[in-house]
Symmetry: C2
Subunit: 259 residues, 2 copies
């Protein structure tokens, strides 16, 4: 594994077993070759597991507690001091990590642009989640399936075309290859995950939309071929999409024709 | 009106007629005494109106376009240059404005904490919106009322207690009076709006929860009494909650007893 920054350690806390929002942070670490601990997926004997994560969420100390995973614990030593930071909210974590990992330009305007796009990715994630949970996260999918089918028509017919059309235009305006700036940023990595997730969950819809999304689909391919990411994607560290996650493949939510 | 920073102008773009997400930005400007233009609410003859807003969203130039209102146009002159920024996503706008308006400590750790909380406020706004639109934003409430009632039980019985309990603990851990740091921040102003909105939309639920939220309710009162905000709240600039906005009062979604 490539060497990371000396004097700093990163621990990611996220539900094991699903790619979910945590994957957007993993993609950044993996692409940058920055070592990190994926705590909830580590064995208890190494201080890992879900209990290690929920313990931090109950936040016994004065620390600001996370509302939900993912969150990141950063410990760093400088010449004069040591500090520990707990950063939560996916887009906030990536805003923090971006320039540190070389995955975002450092100037204020670019950082705000990247973050604005990342928050729109977050909005898309929330809508994709809610399509299978339109009534409550505390209910099973089976108990809100009728409402899910009704919501899905609007997701695939209105919302996904709107979100994806937006990101396609963003790429086009920025020269076609990157969402922000002139190099790959964490936003590009997240857009890769969006496209992967949507292909998994809504293959029919994505087949229909493909012609309108040439730049996004080409971006997906370029990201997948980046050497460190290609190695990661082929490794057991990469979690497959599944029906406990955000992107779920329920064929009844992916109609053969739009409404 | 108090004088703002020289050499900088702020224009807010948001749907007229509802407080919505734009109100979180207005509260920051108003509390800081920073003049701003509320463009979509200005007359056409002064370059205002909704058309002036949608024109910018169609973004003819190379500018990163906003996915949705609110967004902010900032023009500033320094000794050597002039720059124009278009910043979208409510939490991103407040992240940008916070230190400039004296509404957030300037150190990185505090800015990340404030932003993390603001993103959780954004999540709460989204859930409160979706309770009356559980199927689609493109449908009327009346066409998704049955699903809304089902979702509302979970919102008022599970989600609001979870979100508000979280913010109550955040205040408690930080000494009781502020969400972040030792002075009022934009997060406190947003929490004021959360409490106001929830009192409007879910008065029965909020009456039930009041005993568990002493710090949040006291914060609401202190914010309302800040001189500039008190003047703003009594002015015609302050928009009332209504049934086109995010916080809507539909008595059928605010049950007398939790499920």
């Amino acid at each position: 594994m490539p060497a990371g920054s000396p004097g700093v350690s990163y621990e990611l806390f996220y539900w094991p077993g699903i790619p979910g929002r945590g994957e957007l942070v993993r993609l950044a670490f993996e692409d940058a070759g920055q070592p990190y601990a994926d705590v909830a997926r580590m064995p208890r004997s190494q201080g890992g597991g879900v209990a290690a994560m929920t313990k931090l969420m109950e936040a016994p100390g004065a620390e600001l507690e996370p509302f939900a995973p993912p969150f990141l614990r950063v410990r760093e030593r400088t010449r004069s001091a040591e500090r520990e930071l707990l950063v939560a909210q996916t887009a906030n974590i990536l805003f923090f990590l971006g320039p540190r990992l070389g995955l975002c330009p450092r100037d204020e305007a670019s950082r705000l642009r990247a973050h604005q796009l990342q928050l729109t990715v977050a909005d898309l994630f929330a809508e994709v989640h809610d399509v299978h949970h339109p009534i409550a996260v505390s209910l099973y999918y089976e108990d809100q399936k009728r409402e899910a089918k009704r919501r899905a028509k609007h997701l695939v017919g209105e919302r996904l075309p709107k979100f994806l059309g937006y990101f396609e235009r963003v790429l086009e305006k920025n020269g076609g290859r990157h969402a922000v700036g002139k190099r790959v940023s964490y936003v590009d990595l997240s857009l890769f995950q969006v496209i992967e997730g949507l292909h998994y969950a809504f293959p029919r819809t994505m087949a229909r939309l493909a012609r309108e999304l040439p730049l996004l689909l080409a971006l997906r391919n370029r990201v997948a071929e980046r050497p460190r990411l290609a190695a990661y994607l082929a490794s057991p560290r990469r979690l497959a999409f599944n029906e406990q996650g955000i992107f779920r493949h329920y064929p009844e939510l992916d109609p053969a024709r739009p409404a």
